[in-house]
Amino acid sequence: MKNNEISTLNAAPTVRQETLEQQYIDLYKEQRESIKKHSSAVMNTSRDESFARFEALGFPTSALENYKYTDLRETLSVDYGLNINRISVPINPYEVFKCDVPGIHSYLYFVVNDAFYPVNDPVHNKLPEGVIIGSVKDVAASHPELLRDYFGKLSTAKNDGLVAFNGAFAQDGFFMYVPKNVVMDRPVQLVNIMRSDVDTMANSHNLIVIEEGSKAQLLVCDHTVDEVRFLSNRVTEVFVGENATYEHYKLENVHTKTTNLSTLLIDQRKSSNVLANVITLHNGITRNTIEIDLDGEGCDTLLCGMVIADKKQEVDNFTSIIHNKPNCNSRELFKYVLDDMSKGGFTGKLLVAKDAQKTAAFQTNRNILLSKTAKMRTKPQLEIWADDVKCSHGATIGSLDESAKFYMQSRGISEKEARLLLMFAFTNDVIENIRIPALQDRMKLLVEKRLRGELSKCEGCVICQ
């Protein structure tokens, strides 16, 4: 089945390829026309260019400064199948998926592996006037002008092997457009589901456009269904117009055989407000690249993240906030709780351009190691060219506060419960920065369950059980 329906990478597995890249380079050259045929013109425009860049860059290795804390060698040596010919995956997510966050009343959409799943709930998903949500491929046919102005504008020029790879292989993705002065009445939810009988790779490229004066919230959930190995490499471009407000929540709850590579590129215009909150509850290997460019005065940015990891889980959050214009505020808050042999990485890159006077930028990364074998690496990286700014950064790595634990025990609270309360308290301020009440409540519960060791898969998802 694998050979007939899904293009495999190693035609003859006994012959070792020279490099990890070579098999994908060969695949692209062989399948170039199929890839393009099953995609759209707008995505194909820069496809060859992206491929050339990938050929030159290869996959990132930990020798690169920006990938110091990510080691992809093992996971990239897996023989993943790519669904280049867009064979439909037998699953109806609307029937089988029960949301992690009941009560959120979202506009709900699915991407199964790398394909946007057709909306079959037109009543529930009756969007405010002018709002367009769908697949990049469909919108490329119905509203080509929307894509032309935005698609690839943040990603194509990136000097990043994973983004280039995505540009070469991604054939579709999620698209959301909120026109000028529209306030979305409910959050939009995008659930990425990985479903396959064989080891599978998914590349998708999402585009989100929030026009001037609009407000939108997007919750992206990552789930896996089958016990095979998955690798997803997703690029999301977000354009936030003047005075617009955009909230981006990412909730990762996937199994340990998953590699999740995600690049989130956000461009903020004058007086816009962005909150991004990236939470890894359960995973295998995760690399999040989050780059936010402040391209107008008076922007406000809050970038938060939380990682709870144990076993051999690995999470690397690489963040970059670039202040190009004056009078912008950015705050960054990342918290990690690492147990067993897990590994965490955090980079907080902050660039304040020469003209970006009156910048206020604050960065905090705090980490708790629960075992002697867990590892955390953290790196604040501030480059400040303006002279009238307020910037600070702080990174700490420690263990649970023993005196606080003893204090609780001396009041009758068991050691286990005391540890739990302390860990929960530690992550609490990230959860407090969720502005969707139903999601905030649910996260408290999920985090508590996770810290108690009761959460090994996505809660409430019937296909997982």
């Binding site: 606080a404 204090y407 609780m408 025990q409 009041r411 009758g412 609270i413 309360l421 302390l422």
Partner: protein
Amino acid sequence: MLEIKNLHANINGKEILKGLDLVVRPGEIHAIMGPNGAGKSTLASVLTGNQAFEVTHGDITFYGKNLLELSPEDRSREGIFLSFQYPVEIPGVSMVNFLRAALNEHRKYKNLEPLSATDFLRVMREKKTLVEMDNKLANRAVNEGFSGGEKKRNEIFQMAMLEPRLAILDETDSGLDIDALRIVANGVNKLKSPDNASIVITHYQRLLDYIIPDFVHVLYDGRIVKSGGKELALELEERGYDWIKKEVEETV
């Protein structure tokens, strides 16, 4: 209720308690006084099971149970309470969650059902008035940003919530102004009953004007070297500790 026999305890290999004996019966208030470094706080730490201290000799029984075999949380559930000299700040843990967790663990230990949220809040309201505790404090994280006086008041509030059989007040008067001292002492006195007992560890006699002890013990160099009634405290206040030290040296 409490019997301490020939207690020896070390911290980092250094012997602090060197053969301490003490018997406390229900209804009694014992004051333990002594110069700096005598081992007063060590005694409190050993009684509550602080792992930093190692007991090398001796026994402690509490209502016939070997206290040294119990975990800190079980000692608390058995009814031992320490009012900390330096209460710990726990950012992110609310007073409500902290106390509800504690109270329900105590109830579970006694095979009682957990308190409902409404019942719990009612109990909390009642006890708050006992120590004239500000509502705002109860809604904050445990001790976070509390002043010295507020922290001590919070200790007595927790004591009121947990209703211990034996309360150990470790330097509860230190850092308190007269008003706070009176409030704290009032709280302690209101909680007094024929069934419970207190050990009041203090440097100065001042607190004992408000909490009248039945017995006063002088702890010096890891042992109780002198015991008496409340008048002993006054004598110490007047004469200091040097005459005690001299007495001890002479007997040696």
